[in-house]
């Protein structure tokens, strides 16, 4: 499977990563090489095989449904690039 420029641009938009126009072709070649390589899995018959969804055989534990954390707004905001009056600030979303 070869990833063309349009596909790479689309994936980059989905991933919210800006890729300069002049890098799209090169990136497409790199990504295609990786995709071609992983496609060898297609040779394997996996009919009737259950997909693995957990790396460890265990039953999930349950905890009491109680508040264990919170009331730390300032600590949560401490690393934000921009805050105002106790909120994160982002560029205008609604026109």
């Amino acid at each position: 499977m070869s990833l063309d420029k349009t596909t790479v641009r689309k994936i980059a938009t989905l991933a919210r990563i800006e890729v300069p126009e002049d890098q799209l072709d090169g990136l497409g070649t790199e990504l295609s090489a990786i995709i071609d390589w992983v496609e060898q899995l297609g040779a394997l018959d996996t009919d009737g095989v259950e997909p693995m969804t957990s790396a460890v055989e265990t039953t999930l534990f349950r905890r009491t449904d109680a508040v264990t954390d919170g009331n730390c707004r300032d600590r949560i905001l401490a690393n934000a690039p921009e805050t105002a009056e106790g909120f994160f600030v982002v560029p205008k979303v609604i026109e």
């Binding site: 990833l3 596909t7 790479v8 994936i11 980059a12 938009t13 989905l14 991933a15 919210r16 990563i17 800006e18 890729v19 300069p20 990136l27 790199e30 990504l31 090489a33 990786i34 995709i35 390589w37 992983v38 496609e39 060898q40 899995l41 297609g42 394997l44 996996t46 095989v49 259950e50 997909p51 693995m52 969804t53 957990s54 790396a55 460890v56 055989e57 265990t58 999930l60 534990f61 905890r63 730390c72 600590r75 949560i76 401490a78 690393n79 934000a80 690039p81 921009e82 994160f88 982002v90 560029p91 205008k92 979303v93």
Partner: protein, 492 residues
């Protein structure tokens, strides 16, 4: 080199207990060595004030008789662990300036047991790499060099800073994380011991997530015993990580009996890969002979889907990474690059904040999870993962542990293999299967290559049977008698 930094972690603890030296002297000796060897770039941040304060507190505890299990042991911590009040970057520009307001569970357990933080160790960006070349804070240099060749070598990765620091005696032990070999491969490249515990043995809470179904924290140190001591402190259930398992934590050092009589050790025939240097094959055979001489029974075993482990990993890990790394959006922490809209701000922040390998993997992950491709790639990989885990399950009905080489090659020069991602990925061919199956694995230095570089052997065990893994590893370690010093220290 100072005698104090030459000590193993276990010997440091004994020396401290006897009063031969103080925790402060031990910390100072390491801080001074860190300064001398800054060129290695093993640490992204040194924390001398915190180290000395921690050491003084430890000395005070010893005086009062309230000694803790790791009291005064100076450690390096991979910069993937969030450390409260100490910048944690994950080797990425996008987390520049991030100072966690909380402590990861496993590091908190180390401080609870009296260990001392020397600094944060360098790593591949977001733990994605096998060479430490993808760090935004510059590559790490391996303290070893090839005989007759002065080119700086990679320490392996992604826990390359931790491995180099342990090998160069810039800490008594270190923490790493292992998603596809990131503890074991650098341990092999730097001639130290590295243990990846069973998935669920240690809490992942407070570790910057790469691939959540594969990530696991583990110890890196100069001996198997040192790793056993550290594992006892960091293992255990954590209510904050629902995948951490509630099982008793044994005294792992007590498992190092040196007795492997009657144990069955599997040699997987599928691990004889094309192009593997004959010296690695020979070392593997030697490892099997050592175990046989010690009374273990060697059996050839079948892990028929081994060949598919790497491509499976390179679907599953990027898919999980693309999801985990969605949080780096320039809103709540780290770097932000302004844009005219929120979407443009996200794109610019992530475009400038991620390095090339991280960008590549996030894009691969986004692609294999995107509409129309999910079944063909991601679901397929999850099914193959089941087959790989089943291979091991069947093998462990016959054998107690599996012996393999850790990596198909020794450390290579900085800058090599950078133009071919797939070739770089092949470094992890022997380590990735244990992550996919969730199994514990250890790398033990077992010999030197013809050009004088360390080579490691790997022991993989049943889920939660770190004790057998450590015991077998300990026998390999004793038989190998690996005592070569890194080039950096051999001249002193």
């Amino acid at each position: 080199m100072s005698d104090l930094i030459g000590l193993t972690l276990a010997d440091s603890l004994e020396g401290l207990a006897r009063g031969d030296f103080s925790a402060r002297e031990l910390a100072e000796a390491h801080l001074s060595a860190m300064e001398t060897h800054r060129r290695l770039n093993a640490y992204t941040a040194e924390t001398p004030d915190r180290a000395l304060a921690g050491a003084d507190a430890s000395d005070a505890r010893r005086r009062s008789g309230d000694t803790l299990p790791l009291d005064g042991v100076p450690l390096g911590i991979k910069d993937l662990f969030c450390t409260e009040g100490v910048a944690s970057t994950a080797g990425s520009r996008i987390l520049e300036g991030f100072v966690p307001p909380y402590e990861s569970t496993v590091t908190a357990k180390l401080w609870r047991d009296g260990a001392v933080l020397l600094g944060k160790t360098n790593m591949d960006e977001f733990a994605m790499g096998s060479s430490n070349m993808t760090s935004a804070y510059g590559p790490v240099e391996n303290p070893w060099r090839r005989r007759g060749d002065n080119r700086p070598l990679v320490p392996g990765g992604s826990s390359g800073g931790s491995a180099a620091a342990v090998a160069a005696r810039l800490c008594a032990g270190a923490l790493g994380t292992d998603t596809g070999g990131s503890i074991r491969q650098p341990a092999a490249f730097c001639g130290i011991v590295g243990l990846k515990p069973t998935y669920g043995r240690c809490s992942r809470w407070g570790i910057v997530a790469f691939a959540s179904s594969l990530d696991q924290a583990g110890p890196m140190a100069r001996t198997v015993r040192d790793c056993a001591i550290l594992l006892r402190s960091i293992a255990g259930h954590d209510p904050k990580d629902s995948t951490s398992v509630d099982r008793p934590v044994p005294d792992y050092a007590a498992a190092l009996t040196g007795d492997v009589r009657g144990l069955k050790i599997g040699i997987p025939k599928q691990y004889r890969v094309d192009g593997m240097p004959t010296e690695i094959d020979a070392l593997w055979q030697r490892g099997a002979d050592w175990l046989k001489q010690a009374g273990a029974e060697i059996r050839e075993i079948d892990l028929p889907h081994t060949h598919y482990a790497l491509p499976t990993y390179y679907i599953v890990a990027p898919a999980e990474a693309s999801s985990n790394l969605a949080r780096y959006d320039g809103v709540r922490y780290g770097r932000r690059v302004e844009g005219e809209s929120t979407q443009r701000m996200y794109e610019k922040t992530r475009g400038e904040g991620f390095g090339e390998e991280v960008r590549r993997r996030v894009l691969i992950g986004t692609y294999v999870l995107s509409a129309g491709y999910y079944d063909a790639y991601y679901l397929k990989a999850q099914k193959v993962r089941t087959l790989i885990a089943d291979d091991f399950r069947k093998a462990f009905e016959e054998v107690d542990a599996v012996l393999t080489p850790t990596a198909p090659n020794s450390a290579f020069p900085q800058g090599e293999r950078m133009d071919d991602p797939v070739r770089m990925y092949l470094n992890d061919v022997f380590t990735v299967p244990a992550n996919l199956a969730g199994l514990p694995g250890i790398s033990v230095p077992a010999g030197l290559s013809e050009d004088g570089l360390p080579l490691g052997l790997q022991v993989v065990g049943r889920p939660f049977d770190e004790e057998t893994v450590l015991r077998v590893g300990g026998v390999v370690e004793a038989a190998a008698g690996f005592d070569a010093l890194p080039t950096l220290l051999a001249g002193n």
